[in-house]
């Protein structure tokens, strides 16, 4: 449960350490119960759920990977990126390009290129004939893009809301370009109509179940990997830089480098998520990765608890499931609910549900969670 490792808030006080240790172990046992149950339930889901709910769950689990990325970037490093859709899209498109080529008969061009008057496969499409290359690009492309964007921003110490604005503008530009470059990207239609992936029939009866397992596995690995990374001094340094960038800098750390690294990690996780989501949905289009997606991601992460990986992933899963239900039952009400959630969560639940649970678990019944530290640029600037 505890993902903050050495930054733990519940460490025993000196002098009472023996007793406190055993109390901590008991806590851990109690705290580990729910995650175990959740993982068990997810593992058993395919044997219980009908095909639509299972597909829905799989899809949502794929999105949870992007939520992990947002938790690293925002929850840990304090960078509010409103452009995670860009990386999600790069991962999705990297895979979609391969799937499209795989679905196109040998020697022919993808149909949308033909219909856009293109008569030669563009150079950057060529290597995507290879599945391993495409899989590599699923993480390399978003990683590289995140590196480049992060480097440009953090090197020049662009922080806070400026980062939010620029990332939002970038995702908008990306989506606009995707929509306009129809011959290269299939435009606003997006890339669709996939048939096979590495020999698997995407439309076969077993595929959705296999995909569910694969998603669960990748989510699990991503979760464990991210938790591990955040447990190293790297994780503490991200917190340190978020709390007080100058202090870290004048201790000899280069905050820009750490922020870029966090941004890249977040980008790679988003890319993975995008590729899986593309497989689940059978299509990727600019509409899926735009500003709305990027902001929605942030809301679910905020609701669940941005500082906790469990919170972020759980917020995404439950939020998306709720969206599926409520938007069917009361489409008009849904946007009001979303909007109200934004406001209420940041005003009354800044650490999300996970923060609330944590303060309950750590014994302080009724104790309010400590407010997140102010963002440094404000503390200094006002």
């Amino acid at each position: 449960m505890e993902t903050q490792g050495s930054v733990s808030h519940t460490v025993p006080r000196p002098g009472r350490s023996v007793r406190a240790q055993s109390v901590k172990a008991a806590h851990l046992g109690k705290a580990a119960l729910w995650p175990t149950l959740v993982v068990l339930a997810l593992l058993l889901a395919p044997f219980v759920l009908a095909s639509y709910p299972l597909a829905l769950l799989g899809r949502v689990l794929a999105l949870a990977i992007a939520a992990l990325g947002a938790s690293v970037v925002w929850g840990r490093a304090g960078i509010l990126s409103l452009g995670q859709g860009l990386f999600f899209g790069l991962g999705g498109y990297a895979l979609a390009m391969h799937l499209k080529l795989a679905a196109t008969p040998k020697g022919e061009l993808p149909d949308f290129m033909v219909y856009s008057g293109i008569n030669k496969l563009p150079w950057f499409w060529q290597p995507f004939h290879s599945a391993p290359f495409a899989l590599l690009m699923v993480v390399v492309l978003p990683g590289l893009a995140a590196y480049l964007i992060g480097w440009l921003m953090f090197r020049r110490r662009i922080t806070g809301v400026f980062v939010s604005i620029i990332t939002q503008a970038l995702v908008l530009a990306f989506v606009t370009w995707l929509g306009g470059a129809q011959g290269l990207t299939s435009g606003s239609n997006g890339i669709t109509d996939f048939q096979t992936f590495m020999g698997l029939n995407l439309r076969g009866p077993d595929f959705s179940r296999e995909l569910y397992w694969a998603t669960l596995l990748i989510l699990g690995v991503s979760f464990a990997g991210t938790a591990w990374v955040l447990n190293t001094p790297f994780g503490s340094l991200l917190t340190a830089i978020r709390d007080n960038e100058n202090r870290s800098r004048f201790l000899g750390y280069n905050p820009a480098a750490f922020k870029v690294a966090a941004f890249v990690l977040g980008g790679v996780l988003s890319g993975l998520s995008g590729a899986l989501y593309t497989l689940h949905l059978g299509t990727i289009s600019p509409a899926m990765i735009g500003v709305a997606f990027s902001i929605e991601l942030v809301v679910w992460v905020a609701l669940g608890g941005r500082a906790s990986l469990w919170g972020a992933a759980g917020g995404m899963v439950l939020g998306q499931l709720a969206k599926d239900r409520i938007s069917s039952a009361a489409p008009e009400a849904w946007l009001y609910i979303m909007g109200a959630l934004f406001v209420l969560v940041v005003m009354y639940l800044p650490e999300g549900v996970a923060g609330l649970l944590k303060s309950r678990l750590s014994g302080g019944a009724g104790r309010r969670p400590a407010p997140l530290p102010m963002h440094p640029e404000v503390k200094d600037a006002v």
């Binding site: 095909s51 709910p53 033909v114 129809q182 997006g190 669709t192 059978g282 489409p331 849904w334």
Partner: protein, 390 residues
């Protein structure tokens, strides 16, 4: 009331819709929220109207139609997930829905995978031929090309293509450009504005520099309002530079404001002003249910008729199975508000094309119509040689 009818009514009263074999489910999947809602809600209404009429008249093969309405939320991936829900969870016999090409493209794999049947009511760019979709809106040869021919026949030689930046305008214009070149006439310019864009200053400046005789307009939605406002402010009017639009129907004309649009042209398979009897009945029924001022548009007429087409095909197939219905629907012909239409074996309609001129009250007066019905060509032979439906 005969004894037989009485028993039937009593049974219905007692068991209601809970009786599974008494109803057949269909899905209506349109954007009820978001930017597309304004267009799509009325299309969903038209489909609902047809269902109500059919139910009132006894249903299909003795079964009442039960509509499951889902919201695509103007978000294409949502169309895919909701389509999946309709097919795998609700197990509907057919789905009526979609507006944008992107939403259709998102739904296509879902319908193919689950062997469902989708009725798609909107004009589109062609280049698609799924066995699981019935495309009743105009193919490019049933809207764009007749419009071009009409423009040429009026002596307009210099043609400017203006559209929103998405697949339909770009593909339609690609086809138009091939035909413009083949006919030896002149392309004055081509420009695209982001969906929902409202700033046309540069575009109008480019139009001014290109000096065209006519503009073929594939702008979508509100961009049209901005364009015609700024076009008029720059000193243009239908008399000085006519515009032929493919996405402006009665409803859009109302919101643009008839004053800005007076004298401009639109090409469709249907106008509210069509005088045939089926149309008069449809318009009256719709306005009775949804308001006397409600504008009726081409996609609405298609959506309304789609339900009747499906009913005819079900009755011909004597089955609700989508595969059987798809097989049976080829050749089905009816007198609809659009006039006489027939389903081609490629899943599209053989239908008539009209060019209308905008007048007062946002209505269009038909000024030209195709000589008879035009068979659908999903793949333009000039632009995409060698492509055909399987």
């Amino acid at each position: 009331m005969t004894y037989r009818n009485l028993t039937a009514s009593l049974t219905l009263l007692l068991l209601g819709n809970a009786l599974a074999q008494g109803t057949v489910k269909v899905g209506v999947l349109h954007s009820l929220t978001g930017t597309m809602a304004i267009s799509e809600i009325t299309v969903a209404n038209a489909a609902q109207l047809a269902v109500d009429e059919i139910n009132a008249a006894g249903g299909v093969m003795g079964k009442k139609i039960q509509v499951i309405k889902e919201d695509g939320a103007s978000d294409w991936p949502t169309f895919a997930t909701k389509a999946e829900k309709l097919l795998t969870q609700d197990k509907v016999a057919a789905v009526f829905g979609g507006w944008t090409s992107a939403s259709r493209k998102a739904m296509l794999p879902v319908f193919e995978k689950n062997k469902g049947l989708l009725f798609y009511p909107v004009q589109f760019e062609g280049n698609e031929c799924s066995p699981n979709i019935i495309y009743t809106g105009a193919q490019p040869n049933q809207q764009a090309l007749p419009a071009l021919e009409w423009a040429l026949s009026k002596g307009y030689k210099n043609i400017f293509l203006l559209g929103s930046d998405y697949v339909y305008p770009r593909t339609a214009n690609l086809i138009l450009k091939k035909h413009i070149a083949a006919k030896g006439t002149n392309l004055a310019g081509e420009e695209y504005v982001a969906l929902g864009g409202t700033e046309f200053s540069s575009v109008i400046n480019k139009i001014k520099a290109a000096k065209p005789d006519v503009i073929i307009n594939t702008l979508n939605g509100d961009s049209n309002v901005s364009f015609f406002k700024q076009y008029q402010a720059a000193g243009y009017s239908a008399a000085t530079l006519p515009v032929i639009s493919f996405s402006i129907a009665e409803q859009e004309a109302q919101s643009i404001g008839p004053a800005l649009l007076t004298g401009q042209y639109a090409t469709w398979n249907y106008f509210q002003s069509l005088p045939n009897a089926a149309n008069k009945k449809f318009v009256a029924a719709y306005q009775k249910k949804y308001g006397a001022k409600a504008a009726i548009t081409d996609p609405m007429a298609h959506a309304y008729m789609d339900v009747y087409l499906w009913k005819a095909a079900v009755e011909k197939a004597k089955s609700f199975d989508p595969v059987a219905v798809r097989k049976a629907i080829v050749g089905v012909s009816t007198d609809s508000p659009l006039g006489k239409i027939t389903v081609d074996k490629n899943g599209s309609l053989t239908q008539t094309v009209y060019t209308g001129q905008s007048g007062a009250g946002g209505q269009f007066k038909v000024v030209a119509q195709s000589g008879g019905v035009i068979a659908p060509q999903p793949y333009d032979a000039l632009a995409f040689p060698g492509k055909t439906c399987p």
